[in-house]
């Protein structure tokens, strides 16, 4: 390939092109793909014409339909499994091969490098997909699958494939920084990401096939109260996830090249993610009586789900930003004053990010809560709306604060996986508490109430704006005394738990300080 022709091409794409698709391989793939298509087409054609009860036109249509379905599966395998899997290996392979150090020093901008890796990792997948797509279109015509289905599936393949690939690339970049150790095991990340892509494809396929999904005519999802078809929402969410995964990849490349990264993109991510989440769970448009809209989540369920997703996000944030034992000891060794550590940019950024994320999360909770009050309740509320919101806000703050400190405490221990051990222990703790809580007759026991989702569910039970009926139509009655008792008991228990976590972390901090002083002496 002459340099003049390729002078404007991203060098990383050009390199990938030369490695992945040399002329001989292009020829081989082209021939093999066409042979396979004709063999499979021949088998399906034989099957279609063997049905003597169908007219010739019907046989052709059946062949087209069967082939279209098969090609949909093949394209999904290519774009949801193969391409994300290769993307997930792209940075890890550089590390394994020993070329990552050169990529750290190249003068390509992190954005250019990310684009190069993104396109480069998908070249084989795109190429085969480009070979298959004309047949996909042709069989759609022969099978009379309908324009809407064809367009929807094409959108799913395009947007979903790119989204999975971006996520795969982000995972690869995240696991192959200069400090990452499990490089060999990292090669398993490719199949893992490919597997997740396959699961995503299976999960959302039904929403994109109007003939397959019986509720397509009735089901509507909402975004800030605006009715949308589910597949539109899923497409938007995929675009959202893909764009942010790509941004995350660029940031990881920057970090690996020791380019200072600013915290505001993370804040923006949290703000936009919360805005999307709040929009999806928005409003009290489900009437306080059980109606025909059986596909709706009740406000109580939406509230709990919102809290769950936020809780999960905070677990991941705490796990990824906790100050590990190695780093802590490194910085501490070079600094005479332990408190000077808090002047380090990395720690300041992590703390600020956590506080901003918490503020955004609570703002979303407040907005969501307000949106549930858009109609007048039939029954008066037993406990005021403000009290409930303050209690949930306080409880959630205590939960994530205690959890983050506990994860930081674990990060200071000698765990091989560092802070992620804290994440695993935190999740285990909540699971154990949920099992213990469920074993009591009174479901609002203290063990169960340590969980912010169960707490929110318990304090809003029977609250007329949120929990008059559940999804199955069972009526929930307000009980002011029980609500107040639950509200206080949960807050006290969570407060004690958070205080315990802070105490543990403080003791460990002092112990580390003593150890370092001894080692210095």
């Amino acid at each position: 390939m002459s340099l003049n022709l390729t002078a404007r091409l991203n060098p990383e794409i050009l390199r990938s092109l030369r490695v992945s698709l040399p002329p001989k391989r292009i020829l081989f793939i082209t021939v093999l793909t066409h042979v396979l298509l004709f063999v499979v087409g021949g088998v399906l054609w034989n099957e279609a014409v063997s049905n003597k009860y169908l007219s010739s036109a019907a046989q052709l249509e059946r062949f087209g339909r069967d082939m279209f379905w098969l090609l949909t599966v093949a394209l999904m395998a290519l774009l949801f499994v193969l391409t994300p899997a290769t993307a997930a290996l792209s940075f890890i392979q550089e590390k394994v091969r020993g070329t990552a150090i050169f990529q750290q020093m190249v003068l390509l901008s992190p954005f250019e490098l990310a684009v190069g890796k993104f396109v480069g990792s998908g070249l084989i997948g795109y190429f085969i997909a480009a070979l298959v797509y004309p047949f996909f279109t042709l069989t759609a015509l022969l099978g009379e699958v309908g324009l809407e289905k064809f367009v929807r599936l094409s959108l799913l393949l395009l947007v979903g494939g790119l989204c999975c690939q971006a996520v795969g690339l982000f995972v690869s970049a995240a696991l192959s920084g200069p400090g990452e150790r499990f490089v060999r095991g990292g090669l398993l990340i490719g199949p893992a990401v490919g597997g997740l892509g396959a699961l995503l494809g299976l999960a959302v396929y039904r929403l994109f096939d109007p003939t397959f999904y019986f509720a397509d005519k009735y089901e509507r999802w909402h975004f800030y109260g605006v009715e949308l078809k589910p597949y539109i929402v899923v497409l938007d969410l995929m675009i959202f996830a893909g764009v942010w995964a790509f941004v995350g990849t660029v940031r990881r490349i920057k970090s690996s090249q020791l380019i200072p990264v600013r915290p505001w993109p993370v804040w923006l991510f949290f703000a936009t993610a919360e805005a999307v989440l709040t929009g999806l769970f928005w409003g009290g448009f489900v009437a306080p009586r059980y109606d025909t809209r059986i596909f709706e989540f009740t406000p109580a369920a939406r509230l709990v789900f919102y809290l769950f997703l936020n809780w999960a996000a905070f677990v991941v944030l705490a796990g990824s930003s906790a100050l590990g034992r190695e780093r802590l000891r490194e910085w501490w060794s070079a600094s005479s004053d332990p408190l000077a550590l808090f002047q380090r940019r990395e720690i300041k950024n992590a703390l600020n990010t956590f506080l901003v994320a918490l503020a955004v999360s609570l703002a979303g909770l407040a907005a969501l809560w307000a949106s549930f009050h858009t109609y007048e309740a039939v029954i008066p509320a037993a406990v005021s709306s403000g009290t409930l919101l303050v209690a949930m806000t306080l409880f959630f703050t205590l939960t994530v604060g205690g959890m983050a400190v506990f994860i930081q405490y674990c990060a200071m221990q000698r765990f091989r996986i560092g802070a992620w051990a804290g994440v695993v222990l935190t999740i285990t703790f909540y699971l154990v508490m949920a099992v213990i809580g469920a074993s009591f007759e009174d479901k609002k026991n203290t063990a169960a109430l340590l969980n912010p989702m169960i707490y929110a569910d318990a304090v809003t039970e029977g609250y007329p704006y949120v929990d008059v009926h559940d999804t199955f139509g069972v009526k929930h009655e307000p009980n002011p005394d029980a609500t107040r008792r639950t509200l206080m008991r949960g807050l006290v228990a969570q407060g004690l738990l958070a205080a315990g976590c802070f105490g543990l972390a403080y003791v460990k901090w002092r112990k580390t300080e003593e150890e370092i002083m001894q080692e210095r002496a």
Partner: protein, 310 residues
């Protein structure tokens, strides 16, 4: 050209590099020497902007490392001690990739590639697959790739390790040539005799500390208190007697006995040295040779270090 100020890097609480203040002038070839674990690779990686220091500051050509890594990488080239290559590509494709990735203008790529291949004597391998190159050629290819953007500073980490004698000689010549072209080089190596051939200055490291640094001749000059001599004798008994006699003389300093040889420094001019020689040979029958030693980096290294490996 390269300055470090109070530079430290800790791995947990273990210091790999500690409080290093260093200066390497423009156009110098600086040898970085020290036993395994002395902190040479860590120091080079920090100079290359690949590793964040725990504390301290580095400036390369007045660019502060860690603030503008891209600016730094425009003027610095780094050849690591272990590396991998894109074996599927040809040498030309490999160098084209790095030339473009280092911002070499498209119309200059061919010329630059020809130039670095000529310098590293790899021109005949232009269309060969990278995977087919020998260890020495791969090493030279990486140096060629590093030279593509004409860095002002070249950092080489153990460039001669794993190379056969011929490849080492070629590498040494290449480093000399680069030094002659005005590139500032920092070369870490275990093979002190090789460094002695081309280094204009050395930095001796041990357990993370720089224990001695400066221009080679100044370090050698500072090391002895007169003319460095070596006297070789026939038998160990002669050596012991001669050693005692030398220690008793005022003009002789730093007497050290090595089996059948004695090293010492003679404080005096060459006339005095001639008289001293006559006296010794007359008084001690077992002397087989008497000559002025030429001190090398190796002598400096052996004299100043405790040679403890971290």
């Amino acid at each position: 050209m390269i300055s470090t100020f109070d530079l430290s890097k800790y791995y947990e609480t273990r210091p790999a590099v500690r409080d290093v203040d260093l200066y390497v002038g423009m156009g110098e070839i600086c040898g970085l020497i020290g036993p395994n674990g002395a902190g040479k690779t860590t120091l080079l990686k920090m100079l290359a902007g690949l590793l964040r220091p725990t504390s301290g500051k580095i400036e390369v050509d007045r660019i502060e490392v860690g603030v503008e890594p891209k600016l730094l990488h425009e003027i610095v080239g780094y050849v690591p001690d272990t590396f991998g290559l894109y074996d599927e590509l040809s040498v030309r494709q490999f160098l084209e990739y790095f030339a473009r990735a280092h911002g070499v203008a498209a119309d200059r790529v061919k010329k630059r590639i020809a130039s670095v291949l000529d310098l590293t004597r790899l021109t005949s391998k232009l269309e060969a697959a990278v995977g087919s190159l020998s260890r020495g050629m791969r090493q030279r290819l990486v140096i060629a790739k590093t030279l593509l953007h004409a860095p002002k500073v070249l950092l080489l980490d153990e460039p001669a390790s794993g190379l056969d004698p011929l490849a080492r000689i070629e590498l040494r010549d290449l480093i000399r040539e680069l030094g002659g072209m005005g590139t500032t080089l920092v070369v870490s190596s275990h093979i002190l005799t090789e460094l002695a051939d081309f280094c204009t200055s050395v930095v001796i490291m041990e357990q993370g500390h720089v224990i001695r640094s400066g221009r080679v001749e100044e370090l050698i000059e500072a090391m002895h208190a007169g003319l460095p001599l070596r006297i070789e004798v026939l038998a160990e008994s002669d050596a012991a007697a001669l050693s005692s006699a030398l220690t008793a003389r005022e003009e002789v300093k730093n007497v050290s006995l090595h089996e059948l040889a004695i090293d010492c420094d003679f404080a005096g001019d060459r006339d005095a040295l001639a008289r001293f020689h006559r006296e010794l040979v007359t008084a001690h029958a077992g002397i087989v040779s008497f000559y002025e030693r030429h001190l090398t980096i190796e002598d400096v290294f052996m004299a100043v270090g405790s040679h403890h490996v971290s």
